[in-house]
């Protein structure tokens, strides 16, 4: 399907090109195929979905760091619980940003630096024990480690433990030092990400606001829309065929494998997946801090049925993920049908994006 649509678009382009070449004056051609104006859509998605999600992420990461500092100062069960809640709260905007893994998050290596997986437990343990060369664990020491010894999942490991049942008494002074340093590093990286996008700093957002104009990395508004759709496809694929599939069926179908689950220490995976689909929904609907124009409005211009169908598919995917009983860890062995149903619903989202929405955008 994908190829068919693309081929068709080529043929149209060539038909026009061929006609163009046969004319003595082709100056009018560009005006004829000029696109509609999608500036309002791109501006809303960039300003009010992407930048706002990153602002939320940076703020929550600061909260997390503060909670962990509180825990270090007063090692109590309630402070451990607060730190865990703060981790979940920070995780939410991050998962809601994975529908747009392009731009600074990728180009500046921030995605791997904050969300690498698996955790390098051996390196972490060796650093924890090496009090001779590293009498204090600081943010700069953590920053110099491989990405697998920092970020969300290492913090998760330290807060919950490998089996998810860490007790407050299990926390060592060194672990708390590592936790604080890792959270400071997360705060720095998420602030870098927000700064890279916002207009009064790195201003990556301008590429969307000015798409098609000189100075933007996007030669056309269509090219910017294409990135938005590719971003949505990428995360739908990742959730269905990576995050759900690998634990559910193992690597190369070797059988279910809980060690392949991404947020397994905190049992946050179901929420992670649902928030990933919400990130698609937010970009598609242009709705996060406010409800503005999104990709939906572009699709609806030429195909209201497709727009309506896709919106329903997004809702159904989120519902199916949330309908998985208990933890994802247990469900991959005990409730496989529910997990498979969720996977199917996310695949439908991916399929619609790939075979219907992407071609529609490419052929604008």
């Amino acid at each position: 399907m994908k190829y068919f649509f693309k081929l068709k678009s080529t043929l149209i382009i060539f038909a026009i090109a061929a006609l163009t070449f046969s004319c003595s004056d082709d100056n009018d051609t560009e005006e004829i195929v000029e696109q509609s104006d999608y500036n309002e859509h791109l501006t809303n998605i960039a300003n009010n979905v992407i930048v706002e999600t990153y602002r939320d992420l940076a703020n929550k990461a600061t909260d997390l760091k503060n909670e962990v500092i509180d825990l270090q100062g007063d090692i109590s069960a309630s402070n451990l619980d607060n730190a865990r809640q703060a981790w979940r709260s920070t995780r939410e905007p991050w998962e809601k940003s994975e529908g747009f893994l392009f731009g600074p998050v990728d180009l500046q290596g921030i995605d791997p630096a904050i969300d690498s997986w698996p955790v390098n437990v051996v390196d972490m343990d060796n650093l924890l024990s090496d009090t001779v060369n590293f009498p204090a664990i600081t943010e700069s020491i953590i920053d110099a480690q491989t990405d697998e010894a920092k970020g969300f999942h290492l913090i998760e490991y330290l807060l919950w433990g490998i089996d998810g049942n860490k007790q407050v008494a299990d926390l060592t002074t060194r672990e708390l030092e590592y936790l604080v340093a890792a959270c400071e590093n997360l705060e720095t990286k998420t602030a870098e990400l927000y700064d890279a996008w916002r207009a009064d700093s790195g201003n990556h957002v301008a590429n969307f606001l000015n798409a098609g104009a000189s100075g933007s990395i996007y030669v056309s508004q269509k090219s910017a829309l294409e990135d938005l759709v590719d971003g949505m496809i990428t995360i739908a694929d990742e959730v269905a065929n990576g995050k759900i599939e690998t634990p559910l069926n193992g690597e190369n179908g070797a059988g279910f494998d809980p060690t392949q689950e991404e947020s397994r220490f905190s049992h946050n995976s179901k929420l992670d997946f649902a928030n990933n689909v919400r990130s698609i929904s937010n970009v598609y609907n242009g709705k996060f801090s406010i409800d503005g124009k999104g990709v939906s409005d572009v699709v609806a211009e030429s195909n209201t049925t497709l727009d309506g169908t896709f919106k329903t598919q997004l809702v159904e995917a989120i519902q199916a993920i949330e309908a998985i009983p208990g933890t994802f860890t247990d469900a991959i062995s005990d409730n496989r049908t529910a997990v498979e149903n969720a996977q199917t619903k996310v695949r439908i989202v991916q399929e619609t994006l790939e075979s219907l929405i992407k071609p529609l955008i490419v052929n604008l």
């Binding site: 070449f21 046969s22 051996v122 390196d123 697998e148």
Partner: protein, 458 residues
């Protein structure tokens, strides 16, 4: 929009006053747009290098996607449940770490951060297979990272020397020539060590390049410059650890790997410290700072290696863009006039590739002859690699080059990213390409822009 297209077509038809005027076009523009033949994807955004060949069968798509997952896996220090075996010494932890978005690594601000940059090393002479002679205690690649508690082999350093290039119209472009050195090493490096810098290239369309028939590549060799055009072209012949024979070299900046599989296995071994059946010994084995544990080798299965190689073999090439643009058409003519195409061979037809019919028998436009050329003293690394001497580099494919800025956020080109734009990459050409480079500097500003537009369109 359909209506608009139709109206447009009608308008064009009725607006034609005179069909006799000659309007230049790019030959085979239709075929040329489909740069990767039937594998081509119409994608021109940030994700343009990450698409499976669009003609993959369901089974092959499944293998490709499994390889996609392998390409992204990060390795960690052993023992571990998932992805153990990193290092002990390494340059990076994953394939995608060096090939971001399956594209080109940026030249790093800090040479010792995790990046797609490293130095190869050897001492004079050759190994038993006529390849580079490994530096004792370092092997043939320098690792600037190590797992926690181990010492990296080296730390890299760089300084620069200005090389001004004068254009006929008075324009001056100043190239920065990097001069690399080792600021720290765990034991002293041999005094006669030879270095060659590398920056990770894109991995699109590699299967198509592998499927170009050997005879077609060899037929373009002109070792003694018989035709007198100043351009020779030489095939590299290299050791293939898979077949244990000497083969035509196709991959790597000096064509020192015979296949995508060997290139991939070499990267696992040297870049990440991950052993496979093709390279079962740790790159740092036997070194005083290295890995002594041999019981866990190979650290990846043959299946994982095969999947990762399959992924690189079946990544789609994005379609060329704007081939009907007036400037692009003029730029194409300049590309021909300046004899760029003497080495950047535009068109190839692939042969039969066992197991992957989708990349077989495809008409492709990679813009490479797959041969080694003397590129002059300024680019020379002075380090031979099988038959490639210290001045020779393999012609790079140019497909997709115009998308580098969008996909990877930079335009650092050539083997170590020393060229900061396509224009600088042209200006670094010397040796067999000296005349073409000089002719470029004689073009007008408009002509230079047109040539660059053409290169960026393919």
């Amino acid at each position: 929009m359909k209506t608009v297209y139709l109206l447009g077509i009608i308008f064009l038809l009725t607006s034609c006053q005179n069909d006799d005027n000659y309007v230049p076009v790019i030959p085979n523009a239709n075929e040329r747009e489909l740069a990767g033949g039937e594998t081509t994807v119409f994608s021109s955004g940030s994700f343009a290098f990450e698409n499976p060949a669009t003609n993959l069968s369901a089974d092959n798509l499944e293998t490709h996607l499994a390889g996609d997952a392998q390409f992204e896996q990060a390795f960690v220090t052993a023992p571990a449940t998932v992805n153990p075996g990193l290092g002990a010494q390494f340059n990076h932890v994953s394939c995608v770490g060096c090939h971001p978005k399956d594209g080109r690594a940026p030249f790093p601000d800090d040479l010792n951060s995790f990046s797609g940059f490293f130095l190869r090393v050897s001492i004079p002479g050759t190994n038993a297979n006529r390849g580079p002679n490994p530096a004792p205690g370092f092997g043939d690649q320098l690792a600037n990272h190590a797992v926690f508690g181990k010492t990296p082999e080296v730390q890299f350093a760089v300084s620069y020397e200005d090389i001004p290039v004068n254009f006929a119209d008075g324009t001056v472009v100043t190239l920065k020539k990097p001069i690399y050195s080792i600021s720290e090493s765990y034991i002293p490096l041999p005094g006669n060590a030879l270095f060659s810098p590398r920056l990770a290239p894109p991995v699109i369309g590699l299967g198509l390049l592998e499927a170009i028939p050997e005879m077609d590549i060899l037929s373009k060799q002109d070792l003694d410059d018989f035709d007198g055009d100043g351009i020779s072209g030489k095939a590299n012949y290299v050791w293939d650890p898979e077949t244990q024979t000497t083969k035509l070299g196709r991959f790597g900046w000096k064509a020192s790997a015979p296949s995508v599989l060997v290139q991939t296995a070499g990267a696992y071994n040297n870049d990440m410290g991950i052993t496979s059946h093709l390279f079962p010994i740790e790159s740092s084995y036997g070194q005083s700072n290295g890995e002594l544990e041999q019981a866990d080798n190979p650290e990846i299965t043959k299946q994982i290696l095969d999947e990762a190689a399959f992924y690189c073999r079946t990544l789609a090439v994005p379609a060329a863009r704007n081939l009907d643009d007036e400037d692009v058409i003029a730029g194409y003519q300049l590309f021909e006039d300046l004899k760029c195409a003497s080495c950047h061979t535009q068109r190839h037809v692939t042969g039969t590739f066992s197991g992957i019919p989708e990349i077989s028998n495809q008409t492709i436009y990679p813009y490479t002859d797959m041969l080694l050329h003397d590129m002059g003293e300024d680019l020379a690394d002075g380090r031979s690699d099988f038959l490639a001497n210290g001045n020779e580099w393999k012609t790079r494919p140019l497909w997709g080059i115009g998308l580098t800025q969008l996909v990877n956020g930079h335009t650092d080109f050539l083997h170590d990213g020393r060229a900061k734009s396509v224009e600088e990459a042209i200006l670094w050409h010397g040796g067999e390409a000296q005349k073409s480079k000089e002719d470029y500097t004689k073009l007008t500003l408009l002509e230079r822009e047109q040539l660059l537009k053409f290169v960026k369109s393919i």
